[in-house]
Symmetry: none
Subunit: 128 residues, 4 copies
Amino acid sequence: MNIDKYGRTPIYEQIIREIQKEIVSGILKPLDQLPSVRALAMEISINPNTIQKSYSELEHLGICYSSPGQGRFVSKNALEIIRGGKASALNDIQKLTEELLNCGFPLEEIVDCVRRTAENLKRRTDDK
Amino acid sequence: MNIDKYGRTPIYEQIIREIQKEIVSGILKPLDQLPSVRALAMEISINPNTIQKSYSELEHLGICYSSPGQGRFVSKNALEIIRGGKASALNDIQKLTEELLNCGFPLEEIVDCVRRTAENLKRRTDDK
Amino acid sequence: MNIDKYGRTPIYEQIIREIQKEIVSGILKPLDQLPSVRALAMEISINPNTIQKSYSELEHLGICYSSPGQGRFVSKNALEIIRGGKASALNDIQKLTEELLNCGFPLEEIVDCVRRTAENLKRRTDDK
Amino acid sequence: MNIDKYGRTPIYEQIIREIQKEIVSGILKPLDQLPSVRALAMEISINPNTIQKSYSELEHLGICYSSPGQGRFVSKNALEIIRGGKASALNDIQKLTEELLNCGFPLEEIVDCVRRTAENLKRRTDDK
DNA sequence: GTGGTCTAGACCACT
DNA sequence: GTGGTCTAGACCACG
């Protein structure tokens, strides 16, 4: 798990995204057990309170659930929920696009940037 | 000036962006005087200290400069600086694109979103 | 930390210099944690907002960085940045020298002054 | 007269220094008349209030005096007063020197800087 | 009138 | 506990 302890994005958000990424990529499947708060805290050297916060948020979103005494598990419909939640990212892209266009950036430069990102991602995925 | 006093993005950052927008759109030109701290504070009902912070930041960026007792003015090369600073937005777009692609969003949907944003922006600008 | 609350130089600038001095002298080393805003405010009896301003400025200069909830730390390359920034002091010395020479002060008196300053500083440092 | 309207040093201080410089260099001699507030204001495009402030300060220092209805004149002992006042510059040089030495600048570099400044000044003076 | 600094005190998000 | 933002209100220097 790739966490930047000193960046501006909150650690608990980074953890949420990383777990979502693992679910989306299939590393974690529905009904799989998540690592315990303590275990994950040790593994990535983060305060357990922070892990707890991430997990609570994921539960709140319905992406995982905890059964007392047994542990915490990925929800059956985790994938759908994650996909739904990401729709807001399109909104963010719109805002950024507007900002760039307002500054005189040519549209095609932005489109190219998106396409190149897709290619790079594909290459990296294929390499694995 | 359009400020959301109760949103998550700090007021002072919103002000910075609004001023940049006014410079980029030509409402404010290089060497123009910016509204005084107190005047702007009154106009948008924000505490003068917050305006001061926005202005200081803009000065730090080299977008404006101040002479005590005289006022604050747009730098000659403000446009270039703003454009340079926005380059990081491309980076943000890349990250968001990756996130969406990872979730299975088709590339063309993202590209379409960008193109539609550009069209909408153009229409709004032409209407003026 | 030695602060003159009622002098002409702003408190926040004095704090910046004092912190830089502590880094240069090795009291604070790269990656060390700086005193918290509140702690330093208490220690030197200055309003936390003023400390915050000093720290923000130091961050702007790249001399330290902060992670909310964790604290504020000296940058790895703090020393280099501080040294680079002080180069402007040479410029100031030039201007003052010109002023003195224009008034008829003999060059050697100025040079002597510099040398004596160095000796005094060395003596004080050696005494420690 | 060389004034930087947009720098950080107050305009009225710059004017004071420029006038002192003219006296030291002999352009203005004791008992010479200074330009009137209005005339100087026009000449260098500065608010008369600012000129007034500079003149008041110079009077306060004893460098000039005004005789109502006649004008403002350079004092007989202006040169001595200016020289005396500049002694504080030595103090400033000391402080800057300490700062540089603390950062590891070699003493000889500072001394060289002073000597070079003197040479440049001499050359410029000889050229005239 | 302008910008700049400072205090006091509050509230929020993050760890 | 940490940093960050904001308000209210004051005071100063400069033009």
